[in-house]
């Protein structure tokens, strides 16, 4: 959680140094937008998330009391902007998904193979069907699971920083991350088992 350059940058913003806020924008605009697309699924929504987050930063960063927490503060504001966006859309219940529901069913034949990215070149990994399958699986997650999975596995924040950004205990982050991964796994397995049976040819 130690990002000395970011801490220094925040101190410069708070001292009203010329160009400091522009450097903040350069440092964070790409990741806020990427996070917005991953969370909201739509470029227009991600643009609004980016705009709301940068304006909020411009207004509030001068008063941020813990300069070492700049990154988690940025993600907290961006995550809240995404949640506000979702409230305009369909209602999603805030219940926890049961672990029992995510356990694999009894072995009824061979399982579908989820591709191993270690054996795939980047071009293959970026191919649209595979990207689309993972994106769809992430988008289907209830929002309280999606935000944890996106921050941990896709934005690569450590557990403690995600806990700080979402103001939740680390134990809740770990629990939701595990369930989110299990849901994505289940969804990918269903996708690839569909692909496998669609691609099966008579001998």
């Amino acid at each position: 959680m130690d990002h000395p350059e970011e801490t220094h940058l925040l101190q410069q913003i708070q001292a009203n140094e010329p160009g400091a806020f522009d450097r903040f924008v350069t440092l964070f605009e790409d990741r806020i937008y990427r996070f917005g697309v991953r969370m909201c699924g739509q470029r227009e929504d991600a643009r609004d998330v980016l705009q709301d987050t940068l304006i909020q930063a411009y207004v509030s960063l001068k008063d941020l009391r813990h300069p070492e927490a700049l990154r988690s503060w940025v993600y907290r504001v961006a995550a809240n902007a995404c949640l506000m966006m979702r409230r305009k859309g369909k209602f999603e219940p805030q219940r926890e998904v049961s672990l029992e529901d995510l356990m694999p069913r009894g072995s009824d034949g061979p399982r579908a193979e989820i591709p191993d990215p270690a054996s795939l070149p980047d071009e293959e990994l970026a191919r649209s069907e595979l990207r689309q399958a993972v994106r769809a699986a992430v988008e289907q997650l209830p929002v309280q699971y999606r935000v944890v999975l996106v921050l941990r596995d896709m934005e690569h924040l450590p557990t403690a920083e995600v806990a700080q950004a979402l103001d939740l205990p680390e134990s809740t982050i770990k629990m939701r991350l595990h369930r989110a991964r299990l849901m994505v796994r289940q969804s990918l397995e269903a996708t690839f088992s569909g692909e496998a049976s669609a691609g099966r040819r008579p001998q």
Binding site: N16, V25, R111, I114, L125, V134, R135
Partner: protein
């Protein structure tokens, strides 16, 4: 209750709940040893762990959407206007 798989046991169910922590290297050493011992003896759990590992690897490696340049330019222009209005640097 449906067992996790045909050879599903209480151990399999307990392990199922902590596979992410195992993959992330966040398990207590004693639980880690217990997990590895069970995995060494239980092929369905091993297979499940491998599918979860691949899922996490896909999520981790998948590239994000880049910020379109015209959006970047428009955003910066809007911020510049805001800075001018507020008279701050």
């Amino acid at each position: 209750m449906t067992p996790p798989h045909e050879s599903g046991s209480r151990e399999c169910r307990e392990l199922f709940g902590r596979l992410s922590e195992y993959l992330d290297g966040e398990l207590d050493p004693s639980l880690c040893d217990e997990t590895e011992q069970h995995l060494g003896e239980c092929a369905p759990c091993q297979e499940f762990l491998e599918s979860l590992r691949r899922t996490v690897a896909l999520l981790t490696r998948l590239p994000g959407e880049p910020l379109p340049e015209e959006m970047r330019a428009a955003m910066r222009q809007a911020l510049r206007r805001l800075q001018e209005e507020r008279g701050l640097k």
